[in-house]
Symmetry: C2
Subunit: 403 residues, 2 copies
């Protein structure tokens, strides 16, 4: 057998879901965390923390939606009356783990939240003294936070990640399964796009195809499609542009979205020849791609419980630096992934955090020669009990295609 | 001539853009506002304020991107090195109005921002005393704001809307043109969807068609597609579900996205008969739809410079209340629209702000009979010098279709 093979689809007809009871477990852990951290309340606005704790996904808006976990323990979701129907349908409320309250258009929801914080602490007199520490979710908008700070003038505010990071950073089997299905869907999209027509099309047109295919492969949302062709491949976060793809150049495809709430994020670099054998990759590209390929493999191979995040970064960086391309690899080696496409842990110099089984992250070194070309390879990897579990199945060798 | 006619497409082949020089004007106004408000700096993270001032649209991420307008006047955009290429290409930087600085993966961008704030004030010794007031953009994530507050411990933080709301709330001719093209594209999508097959399809399937058509009509992004059929039409912010649309029921279609950065947001209510004349709208529906139709028309008609926002709300509310449906209209009459789908001014009880020429907002009363059915009509309206300028051209009568 020679060459890479197309990824086979194992996509289920219906997206699996996190079981409703799990939200009760998560809320219990969060409540215990609030008590253990000696905080008065955890205030969770729209965003991944709310999705994690309540299973409630909503657009962040000027109308405040907020899950209040006060020291008294019972969680309350305060939502605009207009959003009552979807709020009532979220797993946290359906499962009986969260009380739903709504506010009217002419009410001030910030006053209601402040009241819940005070009341939640009044119910437990021993917590009165610590009501001055309030944690807010990382994605809460400044407009809401500033008003909450004004409404609770004695309180000091800190990040909810104090409590939630340790919960969210380790994925359970259901979460890993969603991340796996997301990764495999992204694999298929890259394969299909890489084997279609590319030369003569704009990057933006290819990006639209990527997004359409992510949806067709079961994603509920396509979030990004970096299509960096020719010199644009040297810009790691290039936006797909109106540049027309030409034969004889590389394309960095870095794509992702959400599948059952969990993120996909996969990169492959391909080379399009236009069917002209003389337009294959030049020697320099092949040389640094081989270095990159080895760096990505070695960094992945180094994954195991107990190893520091910065050490994984260093494994990739040392190999690339030894080839003389150290200055051309100017981003971290990876980022955690879950309900957010970028979350903890970050595989970056200066992060001594040891990997734990169930942590999920990208391993994605890149080499970029400004103005010329670049390459990146990215997989999603789980830290398993005995080493890495790679969720992507797509071959990592340079894919040379007609395009 | 009888019945409504299909909206004609005037969509330009290329989306118009806000001229590059306009960003210089906007920055100058913002800088003057910072000085006038006696503030040390304006800190603008990823979001609509950054799009307004720099023309830079980016995904909000854990890596901080921040436009710093210090009291010294010169604006600096601090971006992660990884985003240097798109940041450098934004109109504010291209036009020479903003200096770009990048930060490396192992640097702390919050320290850099704090340094820019301090340095910006050092350059103007007279501003030293007022560096303790710092304004932040409304969409900045709490994770960034909390760290900025810790890095500038003496400062008091307030909302950047203090300076920016008065700039953004009045639209210039280029902004109005983009809002008009966005509205007309949404009109065509609703017309096309309403005249296609609907009965037997799920709401979610129709919502996907809406999103595809918004893109096909020139939107760069489809943001929402409420498809509320039958009893779901009584939930104003219903999410398109797996419910199958049946003959003999209403559908509320409330759709929107972004066109050249500016938002569309249009609602029409239709009734699908399945081709069966006995399955038309019942008398009760026709009665309250007529009230709604009149309320939307009267509220729109009342738009003129100087009238209070709450007065527009009251015009619609009084008509609906007089019909006995006051309790069934439980949301505000409208919201401002521009770079955000919801922004100031809000047409809501308790908002005495007078309308000014160039303000843009929705006029969208609704009547909802819980568990049964509901209806809403929504147009985007500009406050003109002499009265309302309605951007949508689609007929507002109940559209009865075969579906």
């Amino acid at each position: 057998m020679t060459g890479p093979v197309a990824p086979v689809s194992f996509a289920p007809a219906v997206r699996p879901r996190i079981p409703v009871g799990r939200f009760g477990d998560r809320l219990a852990c969060a409540e215990a965390g609030v008590a253990a951290a000696g905080m008065g309340a955890l205030l969770v606005g729209v965003g991944p923390d709310l999705a994690y704790l309540a299973g409630y996904e909503a657009m962040p808006l000027e109308r405040l939606t907020m899950l209040v976990i006060a020291a008294s323990g019972r969680a309350t979701l305060l939502a605009p009356r207009l959003e009552a129907a979807p709020a009532r349908a979220c797993p946290g409320v359906v499962g009986g783990h969260i009380d739903l309250e709504t506010w009217e258009e002419t009410e001030d929801p910030v006053d209601r939240v402040a009241g819940l914080v005070r009341h939640g602490n009044l119910a437990r007199p021993t917590h009165l003294a610590i009501a001055d520490r309030v944690a807010v979710s990382d994605h809460l908008w400044a407009r809401h936070l500033l008003r909450l700070q004004a409404a609770l003038p004695g309180a000091s505010f800190l990040s909810a990640s104090v409590v939630l990071r340790d919960l969210r950073i380790v994925k359970d089997a259901d979460e890993i399964q969603l991340l796996r299905l997301a990764a495999q869907a992204a694999d298929r999209v890259i394969w299909e796009v890489a084997h279609g027509r590319l030369v003569g099309r704009t990057e933006a047109d290819v990006a639209r195809e990527v997004c359409d295919r992510l949806i067709a492969e079961g994603h509920e949302r396509a979030d990004f499609a970096i299509v960096g062709s020719g010199p644009n491949s040297a810009s790691p976060h290039h936006e797909a542009s109106e540049r027309v793809i030409k034969a004889g150049e590389p394309i960095v495809l870095d794509i992702g979205g959400a599948y059952g709430g969990y993120a996909s994020d996969t990169t492959r670099t391909i080379w399009v020849t236009g069917g002209d054998a003389t337009r294959g990759p030049d020697d320099e590209f092949l040389r640094f791609y081989a270095v990159l390929r080895a760096a990505q493999a070695e960094a992945t191979h180094a994954v195991r419980p107990g190893i520091a995040c910065e050490r994984i970064d260093l494994v990739a960086r040392e190999l690339i630096s030894a080839s003389g391309h150290g200055a051309h690899f100017f981003h971290r080696t990876g980022h955690g992934i879950g309900l957010e496409v970028h979350e903890e842990p970050y595989l970056v110099a200066g992060n001594p955090e040891p990997l734990r089984p169930g942590m999920a992250f990208s391993v994605e070194p890149g080499i970029y020669l400004a103005g010329r070309y670049g390459a990146r390879i990215e997989d999603i990897v789980i830290c398993g009990d005995d080493g890495p579990i790679v969720l992507n199945g797509l071959d990592r060798d340079l894919l040379v295609v007609t395009g």
